[in-house]
């Protein structure tokens, strides 16, 4: 391709440089114009914008001039031959007539047309320019051959042409062909495939060979080496051999190409057939043209049935509008289509397909494929309905929680007030009747107070227990030692603590602060309560450690302890191992502790010896998992 471009440049250059005397003035002028035209047109395709346009106009303008001049000169011969005509015309016509021979003029017309039409394409995509150029080339070739073989006869005036003229024509024609190397006749010659290779090899080779053969025959005959008959025989023989070889070589090339093409076709067919997805070629008329076997497998219709009617017949009525809209996009220039629809199956049902297609405009065809996404669609709708169910459940749960909130609010407010009044009036009675009441009566009144207070405590604890279940666990890193110190204060009820409390090195915990605090307050208040009988001898030891992803703490007191036989009741709601008279309590404290720990994914165990204190061990995961 590059070589040809060079030729395209060299041709006009060499013509332009041809010494003047070799050419007659008129042809010389026109050759110069042609050279200019070719040069301009040749360059125009490597430029852009206004330069390209201006070069093109100059080139075409020059070419137009050539055609005009050539026509004039050609017609002048006819005019001259006619004896009619006014005197005024005869002189210029005569001049024109002398200027150029008719065959040369004809050639210039052809060359001019070739250059003029260099960039024109007919409606069917053909390029006429190259035909004119080839014509010029051939005429020049004939003249040159004649010269080469030393012929001086004039055959219809067609051969007789000075060498320089013929040479100039030849070069310019070549140049013109090279000016547009990828179009018209040159398209095949310059192509990359076997066609181009063949053309590029054979054209020069054959031309050369035949030239030599012809020369051999002529020379042989002229020098009397052999008679004309022998000459012809040898000539024909040589011709046959060479042509035979050439034909065989071409045929073999074509055969190999065909084999490759068939293999590639077979490969394509195999993919087409084996694909589990639908593959098809459809025309822009809405009919399917070519289908792979997957259509029969997935839809159940025979290929014949499917090709018989328009594609839209297969589509679910509800989806037809959207499918049509997607397909119509092709008209707006879109080449990649993608859409979904339902297609009818032979059993009457519908399956979902996801379509992808490419429109090839020149061929007015659509190439595409579809995947059966029925399962995916079903899964999607199942997911949607599950989500809806989930959302509904969550809503109901929230509703439930809201009701519980309202419920405990009521308990909290409305149950406490009467209790307060009971206790209040009982005490007021005691206070005001201090002197007048018998001690027994005072005792009765105390009992009323105590009961009311106890009920208040039960309500508080129940509420705490219930709130525990509803609260979200939001774990954070907690400085347990600090928390324990504060919990101790709360457990002691603000009073200074008599017992000796030792807090060892405690690892940090990963837990919900509110719940965790509640755990410690309850455990510590228990420890204090049940070791209170020891007075100043009461001791509480708190220790803790990390071990294998678990954070563990221990609270040991030397209080009254409990009977291990009833240990399983320890954490039950309202279950106690001591009577109200021995130790006040609601029996909910440890239940709260256990529930709180369970919600962290942890737990609690207890060890005790009656009369020797108790040890409670609590564990939570080092990285708490909320439940």
């Amino acid at each position: 391709m590059a070589a040809l471009a060079v030729v395209g440049w060299a041709a006009p250059a060499s013509v332009a440089l041809m010494p003047g005397p070799m050419l007659a003035p008129a042809p010389a002028a026109l050759f110069a114009l042609a050279a200019l035209s070719l040069w301009m047109l040749g360059r125009s395709q490597y430029r852009a914008g206004p330069t390209r346009a201006s070069h093109g106009w100059i080139g075409r303008g020059a070419a137009g001039l050539i055609v005009f001049a050539g026509a004039l000169l050609f017609l002048s011969h006819f005019a001259f031959l006619q004896t009619t005509g006014t005197g005024g015309w005869r002189l210029p016509v005569g001049l024109l007539h002398e200027a150029m021979a008719p065959n040369i003029a004809k050639n210039f017309i052809l060359l001019g047309l070739a250059l003029l039409l260099a960039d024109t394409t007919t409606r069917r995509g053909r390029r006429p320019s190259s035909f004119f150029t080839v014509a010029v080339l051939l005429i020049a070739l004939l003249a040159l051959l004649g010269r080469a073989y030393g012929i001086t006869e004039v055959v219809d005036g067609a051969i007789f042409m000075p060498v320089s003229t013929a040479g100039a024509f030849f070069l310019l024609a070549l140049g013109t062909l090279c000016a547009r190397p990828a179009q018209g006749v040159m398209e095949v010659v310059t192509s990359d495939g076997p066609g181009g290779a063949t053309a590029r090899t054979l054209f020069p080779a054959t031309a050369l060979l035949l030239l030599v053969l012809g020369w051999l025959r002529l020379e042989g005959e002229r020098r009397g080496l052999y008679s004309a008959d022998l000459g012809v025989t040898l000539y024909t023989f040589a011709f046959m051999t060479i042509f035979g070889a050439l034909i065989w070589w071409s045929a073999r090339l074509l055969h190999a190409m065909e084999a490759r093409r068939a293999a590639s076709e077979a490969e394509r067919k195999r993919f087409f057939a084996v694909s589990p997805d639908l593959l098809y070629i459809a025309g822009s008329d809405g009919f399917l043209k070519s289908l792979n076997p997957a259509w029969e497998t997935l839809l159940g219709f025979t290929t014949a049935d499917l090709l018989a009617g328009p594609y839209l017949d297969l589509v679910h009525p509800d989806d037809r509008a959207s499918t049509e809209a997607a397909l119509r996009q092709v008209d707006t220039g879109v080449t990649q289509l993608s859409y979904e629809n339902r297609c009818r199956c032979a059993d009457g049902g519908y399956r979902w397909f996801s379509w992808r297609a490419t429109a090839v405009h020149n061929e007015r065809l659509i190439y595409g494929g579809a995947r059966d996404i029925t399962d995916k669609k079903e899964a999607d709708s199942r997911i949607l309905s599950l989500n809806a169910e989930l959302a509904e459940n969550a809503r109901q749960l929230q509703q439930s929680n809201r009701e519980l909130e309202a419920f405990s609010y009521t308990i909290s407010h409305d149950l406490r007030a009467p209790l307060r009044h009971i206790d209040g009036y009982a005490r007021m009675l005691q206070e005001d009747g201090a002197g007048q009441l018998a001690p027994e009566l005072t005792r009765y009144i105390s009992a009323i107070s105590d009961s009311a207070r106890h009920m208040g405590a039960l309500i508080d604890d129940l509420l705490a227990f219930s709130r525990l279940g509803r609260r979200a666990v939001e774990p954070v890193r907690i400085d347990t030692a600090e928390l324990v110190r504060r919990a101790l204060q709360e457990a002691g009820g603000g009073q200074p603590v008599e017992a000796k409390v030792s807090i060892g090195g405690l690892p940090d915990a990963y837990a919900d602060p509110v719940l965790f605090r509640q755990v410690w307050v309850n455990l510590l208040s228990n420890a204090l309560k049940y070791s209170a009988p020891r007075g100043a001898e009461a001791t509480i030891e708190i220790s803790g450690e990390h071990e294998a992803g678990v954070t563990r703490y221990r609270i040991r007191d030397n209080g009254v302890g409990f009977d291990m036989r009833y240990a399983d009741k320890l954490f039950g709601v309202f279950q106690r191992l001591h009577s109200q008279d021995e130790f006040a309590g609601t029996g909910v404290g440890l239940a709260i502790v256990q529930r709180a720990l369970l919600r962290h994914g942890g737990g609690i165990t207890a060890q005790s010896q009656s009369g020797e204190g108790a040890t409670f061990t609590i564990e939570i995961p080092a990285e708490a998992v909320a439940q």
């Binding site: 007030a417 209790l419 307060r420 206790d423 009036y425 005490r427 009920m455 208040g456």
Partner: protein
């Protein structure tokens, strides 16, 4: 100072609670001039000298003890009205209530309550609480009114 000047306004719908509160305040010598209204509507009439209390003499109570749960207009609504009006927004308000549900706590503080106290069930504790509250707001605290 005018001895008849009202010192505390008790807004409480429960007669029993009111009786216990009044007894404690008087007995402990914290305040002698205590006015008691039984619901929010009357509380506002009292504070703004409207309706039933249009004849009330000038002056404001030094402290308002406000119950939350009351019929018609509840404690939070009274609180809101009080804090919105320039005439009453500087009067200290102590919310006295049966429960410490978080919602009430949050709402009260957002409206600008000065203090929030839960009424204990135990009478001794109750009396102690009332006494402490009264003592603080009446004696220790410097108020604007």
């Amino acid at each position: 100072m005018n001895y008849q000047h009202v010192e505390i306004l008790l807004v409480e719908d429960s007669k029993a609670d009111a009786e216990m509160t009044l007894r404690t305040l008087k007995r402990r010598g914290i305040a002698n001039n205590i006015d008691w209204v039984t619901d929010g509507v009357e509380a506002l009439e009292y504070l703004f000298r409207e309706g039933r209390h249009s004849e009330r003499e000038t002056g404001h109570p030094k402290l308002v003890l406000l119950d939350i749960k009351m019929p018609r207009l509840d404690g939070l609504q009274v609180l809101e009205r009080m804090k919105r009006d320039d005439r009453t927004k500087n009067i200290p308000v102590v919310m006295m209530t049966s429960s410490r549900e978080e919602g009430d706590l949050l709402a009260s503080y957002q409206l600008g309550v000065n203090s929030f106290v839960v009424k204990p069930v135990d009478f001794d504790e109750f009396a102690e609480t009332v006494a402490q509250v009264g003592m603080y707001w009446m004696i220790a605290n410097e108020s604007l009114v």
